[in-house]
């Protein structure tokens, strides 16, 4: 229940952020959220803000600079739009990343068993895939001390994709069976 409420509260906050257009209000909301995040997270808050900035900076920079250039070219004002856009997107990004530290997604989805099961399996498989891909890449590098051609790289990529599929599907099957045998899905059926 706690996770579902957290998910709903975040959803409401994100929707509210898209309904507010005054830069002053958006800036105040961002300030308030930062105070709350620093109060709750302590030293970890800096990491959340840094991740949020990294998540939005390239897209926001591209849109903002594009808009500023076109506004200057057509002699239109740009400051209000750029301020509003950046405050809104940063506010939503910080809200999202602060919430994601506390959300257990599979618990929040406990009202729908198939989605809950799929979300749990997918999250576990993402970690497995990342780990196996790193292992295979390191192995390829250690087998080839000198640079190899594109055809060898392409063949390796094909074998790597196949190996990833084999390993992760076998592990997902074991995980699925283990979760089922322990009655993980029974309560939400």
């Amino acid at each position: 229940m706690r996770d579902r409420l957290l998910l709903l509260a975040w959803l409401a906050a994100v929707v509210a952020a898209t309904l507010v257009h005054a830069p002053l209000l958006l800036g105040s909301a961002l300030g308030l959220v930062l105070v709350v995040v620093f109060a709750i997270e302590g030293r970890a808050a800096g990491g959340i803000v840094k991740r949020a900035l990294l998540a939005v900076v390239l897209v926001n920079l591209a849109v903002s600079l594009g808009f500023i250039a076109s506004a200057i070219y057509t002699a239109q004002p740009w400051l209000v739009f750029v301020t509003r856009l950046n405050l809104r997107v940063l506010l939503i990004a910080i809200l999202t990343l602060a919430m994601s530290r506390h959300l257990r997604l599979e618990q929040a989805l406990d009202f729908h068993a198939p989605s809950r099961r799929l979300a749990a399996l997918i999250q576990s498989q993402v970690r497995v895939l990342q780990s196996v891909a790193r292992d295979l890449s390191d192995a390829f590098a250690s087998r080839n001390p000198v640079a190899v051609g594109w055809s060898a790289r392409f063949r390796h990529a094909g074998h790597q994709a196949g190996a990833l599929m084999d390993k992760t599907e076998a592990q997902a099957t074991r995980l699925n069976e283990g979760m089922r045998s322990r009655g993980y899905f029974d309560s939400a059926q």
Binding site: A17, V63, T96, I122, V128
Partner: protein, 218 residues
């Protein structure tokens, strides 16, 4: 090619949500009907692959991003409707856990990529596969539909972004959300995806040629 949160107007995402909810309900029904315990791991693996592939993003000046989708593998590997649900979950996970894409943009992203793009891939494959089977052009039955589906998805995303300045402006005529019209979004988003679609098609062919060799574990 995700649209991030804060770039589309409530008018757009509310309409998209109204369209996406019945599609999600139908997709969930298809999974319950067609997928048993043994097939779920394959769906999870292909979905995780899509998640990992989408993590490698290149931002585009039009306010979106360029990356492989992993959608071709999903659609041709498990079917359109399960792929639509799985892809929506990928988008939701990215929005909730990584702050990539967005939750208000989720219905638009899911409909454009998962449903419109996925439907083109599934339909194209269904048309081409019987005609090209057992010929040296057989890989094209995967590569062409996946490429076309990705381009259609990019086109849909570009159009949705491009109409935002028409949907919401303030009293001074300044855009409230995404500021550029279709004249900017169409070339900036669609052209890179013409190339990315080819890579996506090749990847789908590489991965899917492995699938029939293995039997789903009992």
């Amino acid at each position: 090619m995700h649209i991030p949160d804060g770039m589309i107007a409530p008018q757009a995402y509310l309409v998209a949500t109204a369209l996406a909810v019945p599609a999600w309900a139908w997709g969930a029904r298809c999974i319950r009907r067609d997928f048993d315990e043994r097939c779920i791991p394959r769906l999870a693996v292909l979905t995780a692959l899509a998640f990992v592939l989408q993590g490698i993003m290149l931002p585009l000046p039009g306010g979106s991003s360029a990356h492989l989708l992993g959608l071709g593998v999903l659609v041709l590997g498990v079917g359109l409707w399960p792929a639509f649900i799985a892809y929506s979950i990928v988008l939701a996970l990215q929005a909730v856990l990584l702050g990539a894409g967005g939750i208000t943009a989720l219905p638009v992203n899911a409909l454009a990529m998962g449903l419109a793009g996925g439907a083109v891939m599934a339909l194209g494959h269904r048309l081409l596969a019987p005609r090209l089977a057992a010929t040296r052009f057989e890989p094209l039955a995967t590569v062409i539909p996946v490429w076309l589906g990705l381009v259609v998805a990019a086109l849909a995303i570009a159009l949705v972004l491009g109409v935002q300045p028409l949907l919401a402006v303030d009293a001074a005529g300044q855009p409230l959300f995404f500021p550029f019209g279709p004249a900017v979004t169409l070339p900036v988003i669609v052209i890179p995806h013409v190339l990315i679609g080819l890579l996506e098609g090749l990847l789908a062919w590489l991965v899917l040629t492995r699938l029939p060799l293995r039997v789903v574990p009992a």
